[in-house]
Subunit: 350 residues, 2 copies
DNA sequence: TTTAGCACTCTTAATGACTGAGTGCTAATG
DNA sequence: CATTAGCACTCAGTCATTAAGAGTGCTAAA
């Protein structure tokens, strides 16, 4: 009874070896092969019983009657959560990673380098989300009249990040009024956190009827539009997609195609990555777990990277479900760590 | 003698039909099939002689002994240059194109829409190069001190294009000096063409020793750095790459992979497109003509689009060499025209 | 000059025999 | 009672054979 619903030691052992072998060869593995494995002291017949149990539990399946077994998504899940022994990343690789990251000058370049590194080392697709700057410090604002009713707003935050957009204020302002408004904002708010500015402006607008300071009200009116939902669409840097074309696991082109379309549309990938940000260590999504059909035969391994003491984004790898998790997981982790360090360095001593 | 080196009427006719049929079915076409064609009044035996001549001239080849013939790159070239009869784009499609282009608001969005349109209609990959803004009108400049020796320069050109960069001027300036400098530049140069500004600044710098206007010299010093080589790397917008995955013509994955890698690295594609800008009508590069191995089984059809009376960039299509040139060529041309019109509209009445 | 005819080549699909890997079940074994 | 050996059975993959079909090149006749 119990035997077929719960994993005993022996079954675990068998499952582990089975998954490892399958990850290595990509061939369904049979009972004979398992019994030959050095640390299994059972005959193929006994193993057949065990494997039959595993199949009943939905951890393995066989592609056809007379083939060996391959792990199911659930099988991979159990393997990764309970049975996996990770192999540490070799010092050589770590040095290589660090070196190539040091070469990158700009922050943006740093991200794409990290992505390329991941894909190069793993021979799968690497990805890095852009850092979510959660703290924006207001630094400077500028209004430039374009035409009758449109104003170009240039907003500088943090050190040197320049955002711009065109807004259409409800009430028209003369050029000199705009300059006044900008001066006011720069004088009052420079150095403040941007959410704070946004709230303060909202308050000022509410009190606009009582209208104590005409200037403040005027400024708030134009500026509130500029500050609205300033967070840029989050995005990610992908590298080495083409590596996936060589994976024997994607047999038909249709599958590959939907995968690449998902890469292009980005949204579904972003959804997948979004969940990861909340977590702390490496997160692994296996095959259909993610709900995205396009990623059916894929696994995604992500790990958050820190800027300061905040999670800024995630780095990760997308590859076939049949991948060397023992090597890839530590690779993703170390890359996240190194990227965080590199970004912090740039931040503190530019 | 002459017969095997020069194309007579009959050979042309045969070649034309052969290419057309091959483009349709993708199957090698044999003499029997050709002789059945309505407007050929020859037996298969006679046709065999003609086709043998075509093969001698390197216009067709046969994949193996007992198969029909398929066009070579040269064969396609002759077909396109001399024999092709283009079918005009249906009014319905033109309307659809125009409509969807009108929907796009931003110029950038316009480009990607055009690219998507091309790929959607043709079921191949569409591409549009970013417009090479040859005329930049200086509008506004702003200097923001970042630290001791670094200044953030924000430059607004044309209507609403914002560029920014960090410069390290040789001589330090106080914040108030920077503001003065910006005011000076904005007052003197607003509305002028940017090359003109650049030259004028260079002049001012040369005369700096005689130093008539202190303010001008100061401004020129900081600003000259900002104006240096402002042109951004040219780039292109690609859409519908994945359409190419379904082309039966790319049989092996390796080929597809090198193609997609070329898309990612962009440079080789840019080289290819760069040549096109000089030309006037549609330009067609067939297979290996381009020298890029990655594009071996591809053809590229491009057509320049105009902004004002200048060639701003090109739109185009990348697809398998075996494509319906008669439909694609006019499609590319009309899209180039419509895109130009749309861009001009945005420009003149925003 | 064109055509009809024929021998020949080569691909493709279908068939069938055979092998190898693997399973499930049962009965014997320690 | 768990383990093992043995056996019948299944299925995918390989290989050779076969037959059909498409197409060519060449020659001789119209």
């Amino acid at each position: 009874m119990n035997k077929s619903t719960e994993l005993n030691d022996r079954a675990c052992q068998i499952l582990k070896i089975l998954v490892e072998r399958y990850i290595n060869d990509g061939q369904p593995v049979g009972s004979r092969a398992l019994s030959k494995e050095s640390n299994v002291k059972l005959s193929s017949a006994s193993i057949r019983n065990v494997v039959a149990d595993l199949e009943e539990m939905g951890l393995v399946e066989s592609p056809h009657t007379s083939a060996g077994r391959i792990p199911t998504d659930n099988g991979y899940r159990v393997f990764i959560d309970n049975l996996l022994t990770v192999s540490p990343v070799s010092g050589g690789v770590v040095n290589q990673l660090r070196k190539r990251l040091e070469h990158a000058s700009e922050p943006t370049h740093l991200l794409s380098t990290a992505s390329e590194l991941l894909s190069d080392v793993s021979r799968m697709a690497g990805l890095v989300t852009l850092p979510q700057q959660t703290i924006h410090v207001f630094r400077h604002i500028e209004f430039l009249p374009l035409s009758e009713d449109r104003v170009l707003v240039i907003l500088v935050t943090n050190e040197q990040e320049v955002h711009h957009r065109v807004v259409k204020p409800e009430h028209k302002s003369s050029p000199s009024e705009l300059i006044e408004a900008a001066n006011y904002l720069n004088a009052v708010y420079s150095g403040h956190e941007i959410n704070e500015v946004r709230n303060s402006l909202a308050d000022t607008l509410k009190q606009a009827r009582e209208l104590v300071e005409r200037q403040a009200a005027r400024a708030a009116q134009v500026a509130s539009l500029a500050f609205e939902s300033d967070q840029k669409d989050d995005d990610f840097v992908l590298a080495g997609q083409t590596n996936l074309m060589d994976c024997s696991d994607f047999d038909d082109v249709a599958q590959l195609r939907t995968l690449f379309e998902a890469f292009n549309h980005k949204q579904s990938i972003l959804n997948l990555l979004g969940q990861a940000t909340s977590d702390d260590g490496a997160r692994i999504v296996i095959g259909e777990e993610c709900g995205e059909e396009a990623l059916g035969a894929c696994s995604v391994i992500t790990s958050p990277y820190m800027v300061g003491d905040q999670i800024a984004g995630v780095v990760g790898i997308i590859g076939p479900t049949r991948m060397h998790y023992d090597q890839v997981i530590p690779l993703v982790n170390i890359t996240a760590k190194l990227l965080g360090e590199a970004l912090n360095q740039k931040k503190s001593s530019p």
